[in-house]
Symmetry: C2
Subunit: 327 residues, 2 copies
Amino acid sequence: MKIRIGIAGYGNLGKGVECSIMQNADTELVGIFTRRPPESVKTVTNAKVYNINDLLDFKDKIDVLIICGGSATDLPVQTPEFAKSFNVVDSFDTHAKIPQHFENVDAAAKQSGKIAMISVGWDPGMFSLSRLYAGAILPLGNDYTFWGKGVSQGHSDAIRRIDGVLDAKQYTIPVDDALDAVRSGTNPELTTRQKHIRECFVVACEGADLNKIEQEIKTMPNYFADYDTIVHFISQDELTKNHSGIPHGGFVIRSGKTGINGENNHIIEYSLKLDSNPEFTASVLVAFARAAYKMNKEGMCGCKTVFDVPPSYLSPKAPEELRKNLL
Amino acid sequence: MKIRIGIAGYGNLGKGVECSIMQNADTELVGIFTRRPPESVKTVTNAKVYNINDLLDFKDKIDVLIICGGSATDLPVQTPEFAKSFNVVDSFDTHAKIPQHFENVDAAAKQSGKIAMISVGWDPGMFSLSRLYAGAILPLGNDYTFWGKGVSQGHSDAIRRIDGVLDAKQYTIPVDDALDAVRSGTNPELTTRQKHIRECFVVACEGADLNKIEQEIKTMPNYFADYDTIVHFISQDELTKNHSGIPHGGFVIRSGKTGINGENNHIIEYSLKLDSNPEFTASVLVAFARAAYKMNKEGMCGCKTVFDVPPSYLSPKAPEELRKNLL
């Protein structure tokens, strides 16, 4: 009686979910659903691959569908659509559009009587939970979120679009002095520039004007202009050899005061250091898929976020065991 | 329509709850209930003080009773007793006895239809939550919990019981090398001695044999024998001046692997740096009192722990606001 999981979409995130299911003895993978010709897809674990158009045939064979599409165009369409027939989990991460996505998905899931868990991952996701818990405990205080050291796909893509650039990888790096200032409890006000550095590894075309590329990167609005940016030009071989990973991570810190005159300071810090951003995100998705399954079995339905899930639902262990060994 | 809170027991923890209620605009303090003569108790905020024997008169005037007694003898009796008439929250922290305490309290709270939230604080409490979340996300991995730097009341008391000792304060200090080893992802096996140092500040009677006291501390079974222990003899003035605070804190780290061959490593770390252990614990109690109130209003009853509480219940903010601003 394992939890039967389907994966919709098979990029890095879908592969991560496939691997995570192997680590969770109470889950099993029913199949991977893709827009590509199924026979063209080689899976990590030899999982079965189906055309996404056949998904509805699996209505009674899948307990939870984990949707691994992109937030820009896939999830706004797929999550409400698939929630009509399945319990679903997605990692929708366009923060500003979460309320709208919630409304769309909630309507669909309430009508079908399914659970649709959105914006699961680490930010939004575990970082959001840290902000919620810490803020509820220390109402007088400030939140600080730092990202990195890690690869920003969006910033890497932006560099690649510059004339004369063949390939690029951008790392977002939190500034140690800013982290130390926050941890000291002084509640500093920090500018964008003070919080993060951007470090870029760029492969240029032969004969390209490197100074021009560097200036174009450093002055790019929204992406780089507000930051101290470091640009290195390297060979494609070096980029492939040393910068092929997708690490990420970051820090959520709350600094707050207690006591009748606010005389005592407290620092709550949650941090992640991840070798593989997609595999970690996938692991969070599978834990929340377990919760979605349990919540739906208890009769709950509608759109949910990480804020709505009793933590015990995430674990395969019985409540008694959790109280005995983890509390 | 604030949440009306009562405090049972008025030591450092009770005072912390009193201060925390002042910071939370949706809560109000009905009164403090004590075994001492009420008129002898001076409160921090001029709150009303009542004899604990009059508690039942407040059955309809208190929404949640926060029980601030000790885990050794107070809470095992008080929590099940008071749960017969009130929603209650306690900070029961004798880890090994939690299952028994849960059973006793659950029976009482189910009969009364109230919520009884036990073992709330930071360990058990927020540290337990960190262990649960991290273990659910990374099933292949190891948990590490470090405590400190902070004052251990139990160890300080143990030193004070030695002949020739007037006063003492003991700090538990995590070993930096051990923390670094854990954070490196090597999943080290660490002995008790490798994880923590114990540093003691001792005021001896005039003419006492300091060598003998130091040996007695360092060889004390359970408390110090398994640790590297540092003993400083200082004056009462110095102890009062430099060691009157009750700081504490610690680290919960999970190191786990993902990927088809476990090739990627991940570190999840939660840490606390607290100027006042009781005031922070009190702040956690008040947040969970809010949750207890909401859960009971929705018709839930019985014994609950931090594992059972949907995080959104801890916040005074509406779910829409949480999704918009924190997710």
